[in-house]
Subunit: 647 residues, 2 copies
């Protein structure tokens, strides 16, 4: 155990250790495990340790590795959460959770049943329910696309698989349902290559990335080093990929970066669809839905994979192979200047390091990547792809419903939003930071600005925990600075800025459960004072939650209510951003990705462009090839003649 770092993902042996401790404690009671995972270590213990690592100093005692387990007793179905110190092998606590706290979705129980998080439309539901949307499989091929043919009824089950009721689904403009009709076959819109009607494209030629000297990164366990960057790749079953302890050229930049939550509320107002609102991290988890990646499928070039571990219901560790991949990408030019006096070009390409995870939530896929470059930028790229969630509808509604798009015969894809929370725990040259925003504003016309063209920036420091708005019109930029460190050249505080993604916030009415459960998404920027365990923007238990201000499952909207002082403190920034996705037919049956990028950029953190020392972009290095036209000269093709000037 001496070799494990507090940020390393949980191991199989650690999962077994936790299970053995619990079996002793609950002697004679059968337990069913939902989660058994690494817990973020105590930050106040970790910081001296990672600082000593960074500075090459003698290491203080290693901080305890912590783990938690969520499980229920099979005798009385009570839910528990327990916390463990893996180092001392001690239970820190084991507590029963209240009845209305619901854990994540059970696996499918019927072929082509799609179990969905039940969602919320009452504060008084203590049963753990799931709603099964059913789909017809037309032909007997394993890759048949069932989402293309949704059924018109939907059973609701309880936790022990007892049928609670059957919902009949509305298929027209209001909430009424029609009597069940005899099945009329419809044509399935297929996506699998072998089931397509049309022939495959034959004219796309191979594109191969060669790295004859290997990759430029190196790994040692979960530590990655690349181009002056150094960080640790973390993994857990809830957030999946987490980036810890990021330094650039030995300077601290970020303590932790993670996708903290996402919610997908649907805009179809008809029951039972009004309850469709996924919390894909809280209800299910990015880690346990992470694709096991394979060579040549998801990335090009030289690829390194990281594994993870999760627990099965009986307490056995389960290895998740290759859930995170690491590879380099050439992303075009980083910078270029041509000295027109000498016609000399200075060109450096934009090599990037990509740490990627792909998650499948039944029908839908998300591709998440943290991308590092040589100019000290870090980018979070989110791609949304996969299959739209579908509903049946009546063809006699003239083919359109106002809240959805027809994507095939009798099948519609409702409008919805994707709203993410990026959790940024900054460590800008140290662990006490200040957050402010800067607006670009015109100078008033005066003796200092007689021509009316001057503009300056206005700086607003966030002094107590709370939220802030983005502003396109004012070009608002959020910055995380260290109030104790001044850039000697510019005399400004060292900082990183956030290129935010200003987005439409939830469209649900503020009085709805849908809105109140997703408090994190109602403001684009939140800043809280760090507190151990405050990791999940919508609260720890989102399934059938009624609000993220519930005392058992608080989210960021609750935490900022403490009005903590946050100037020159250990702060956390939460950026909510998203897509309003009103589907196109072109998004079906599998949608071409929609891409969103949030970028973190150094801002007065360095004295100059850090990519200057990147190797010059030259033919000797890049080995490009001149494309030859099949017809070298139009004169020879017999189609064209040279134009003769006769004037």
């Amino acid at each position: 155990m001496a070799s494990l770092h507090p940020f390393d993902p949980i191991t199989a042996d650690e999962i077994r250790l936790v299970v053995r401790i619990l079996e002793k404690s609950f002697s004679g009671v059968k337990l069913r495990y939902k989660r058994n995972d690494i817990q973020e270590p105590m930050k106040k213990e970790v910081i001296p340790y990672i600082e000593a690592e960074r500075l090459g100093q003698p290491l203080p005692p290693k901080p305890s590795r912590l783990a938690y387990a969520i499980f229920h007793r099979l005798d009385n179905r009570a839910f528990y959460k327990a916390l463990f110190d893996l180092t001392s092998k001690a239970v820190i606590y084991a507590k029963e959770l209240p009845k209305h706290v619901q854990m994540q979705l059970p696996p499918g129980v019927v072929v082509c049943t799609e179990p969905w998080m039940y969602g919320t439309d009452t504060a008084n539901e203590n049963r753990r329910l799931f709603q099964c949307y059913l789909y017809v499989v037309e032909i007997n091929h394993p890759e048949n696309h069932h989402y293309s043919v949704p059924c018109r009824f939907s059973p609701v089950f309880g936790i022990t698989h007892e049928l609670v009721r059957v919902d009949y689904l509305p298929t027209g403009l209001d909430h009424t349902v029609r009597e069940t009709q005899p099945w009329k076959p419809v044509k399935t819109v297929q996506y699998a290559h072998e089931l397509l009607d049309e022939p495959m494209r034959q004219d796309l030629k191979p594109y191969i990335v060669q790295q004859p000297q290997g990759a430029s990164f190196s790994t040692e366990g979960n530590v990655v080093s690349w181009q002056k960057w150094r960080f640790r790749v973390g993994f857990n079953s809830r957030e999946g990929l987490v980036i810890y302890n990021v330094t650039y050229d030995g300077r601290n930049t970020f303590y932790c970066l993670s996708l903290s939550e996402m919610t997908v509320p649907y805009g179809d107002p008809r029951a039972p669809y009004h309850r469709k609102q996924a919390f894909d991290i809280g209800d299910v988890g990015f880690g346990i839905t992470a694709n096991q990646l394979s060579l040549g499928c998801d990335c090009l070039g030289h690829i390194h994979y990281f594994d993870g571990h999760t627990v099965n219901s009986s307490g056995e560790p389960k290895r998740l192979d290759s859930v995170i991949c690491l590879h380099e990408v050439d992303q075009g030019l980083q910078h270029k200047h041509v000295n027109y006096r000498t016609n000399t070009a200075t060109v450096v390409r934009n090599r990037q390091l990509v740490v990627q995870m792909i998650c499948t939530f039944a029908n839908y896929e998300y591709i998440f990547a943290f991308i590092f470059d040589q100019a000290a930028n870090i980018e979070l790229e989110v791609r949304a792809t996969g299959i739209l969630s579908t509903t049946p509808f009546d063809d006699d509604t003239e083919g359109t419903l106002p809240w959805s798009t027809t994507v095939g015969p009798g099948v519609a894809a409702p409008y919805h939003q994707h709203l993410w929370s990026l959790r940024i725990d900054p460590a800008i040259d140290g662990f006490k930071n200040t957050v402010f925003y800067e607006d670009s504003v015109p100078m008033p016309i005066s003796e200092y600005n007689p021509y009316g063209v001057g503009y300056i920036t206005e700086k607003i420091i966030m002094k107590t925990s709370g939220s802030a708005q983005t502003s396109v019109d004012r070009h608002r930029v959020f910055k995380m600075c260290n109030a104790n460190v001044i850039n000697p050249l510019t005399k400004k505080l060292v900082a990183y800025k956030i290129h935010t993604v200003p987005s439409q916030m939830p469209l649900a009415h503020p009085s709805t459960f849908g809105y109140q459960r997703a408090g994190f998404a109602t403001q684009p920027i939140w800043v809280s004072k760090y507190k151990g365990g405050e990791l999940y923007a919508a609260g720890e238990f989102t399934n059938q939650s009624t609000s993220s201000q519930n005392e058992y499952s608080e989210g960021i909207d609750a935490w900022v209510g403490r009005k903590d002082p946050i100037e020159n403190e250990d702060v956390v920034v939460w950026h909510a951003f998203g897509l309003t996705h009103n589907p196109r037919p072109e998004d079906f049956p599998v949608m071409p990705h929609e891409k969103i990028n949030v970028v973190l950029k150094p801002d007065h953190f360095f004295a100059k462009n850090l990519a200057l020392d990147g190797p010059p972009s030259t033919q000797a290095f890049n080995k490009s090839v001149l494309h030859e036209e099949p017809f070298k000269s139009v004169c020879c093709s017999g189609k064209a003649i040279l134009w003769q000037v006769d004037q």
Copy 2:
């Protein structure tokens, strides 16, 4: 000439033809040429021709190729513009331009003098002036970075190089200037690889793109075919790269796509900086500043180059080699779905075709690319890079001025904006189109929306030429549709939508010349009815212009004033977007690029995702390589031991 298409760039022989015609007309008068270029052909003649091409029908008579020349007489310095029919070799008109119309910037006349567009601060300036900012060259190396050491005085010259006056530059917080001081040497911030103080990075390993079967595109002259796309690459000295007659699988999508204008107003309020406002297209031209690209420098893989032609001042054609490049890029995954029931992945990568041009405007560079993909998307990507325009300042101002950033000793980079106009001439399944926008809005709570979660879209059709706002809060999406063509599946009009870039508009006061000259940038969306010759968003003659509503040089803000009906008409959409760029020290001496992307996406134009038939992403096709850690197992390194569970 029979072989030349009306969209093809001007040829050397055509430039000579125009010069010969003018020499005859102005017999005995010496002429000095500024522009001699292709003119957009008559759209009403071109459409039947390109439609016959598209449909494989017998071709009607080829439309006339048109050219224009801008020149002045050396005897009386009068400026002229003439239009020619190259097919009939006839002059269509030759007219003298009014005195206050100023052509573009002359080339540098003194070493390390940087001639700048004079800009405008009076409506009564008929002289053609230019302002020379001077820089000190510290050492005798050709790549020394002179922008790092600006001088404190700046001569103003007239067209015949007569000195008009010397401006002494303010270096503090107000407009006052200081007495000239003896030269104090300062350390230059260098960017050229051979002048860097620090050693080069040695740990970036080669990354080579191999296309063993060649590129997937084909070219025939200026026609490009790739993955069901077909279009013509145009080039002219003003706009540089222009994309014409874009079809997908034989269907019309766009008649023309081009960068129409850009302006860069500076926020430094002090004279003479208040006049700093570049119009890089109108004052100079993307075509004549386009870099001559070379293999291995700017792109990887198989690359095709297009040449262009311009004219020198004595009327000789000048070939511009390799000003546009064409190549493919792998841009990660296009779509992915994993069937969790069978664990089968359907994956298609996002291969793109990039048509690229890079322009150098003295200190600064822009990289423009139109990017096509297999899902029928077209993206305009703009990268801003190069060297910031700099000003000298007094070190005793405590290192900061409120409208600029210190980037080196005694040198500051003022805040500025980059504002572009993308001109979109749509041809969505035909040449008569309608523009509308759609907002995502909550449904009121009612019997149709009892749970308050429903939302729908609100559609607003633009009926007369004018402008419109973007809206993040309403998730406003602009669409170009064909009101005569209905998608049979969805019953909606076929359309393409624009993923706009909501941006801060000009910060200059509306009363200023800076604002009035940049009318195009004051609204993010304009829609006009097509009219021949209306190509340039800020007017044809921007140098020292006073307004884009001037009768000799009207821009889009003037044209929409006609209040033309634009429903189901030949319409043009102009999208103004930009960056407010308050420099970071990390942007100096050459800035890592800032990237902006505008995307055009089919919207009810097709029945489903068009990339489904792309080849599956497999190891056999991609040939990726597993990265091996130097230490295969931590147990062998002596650093770690396996953890023994003893509980």
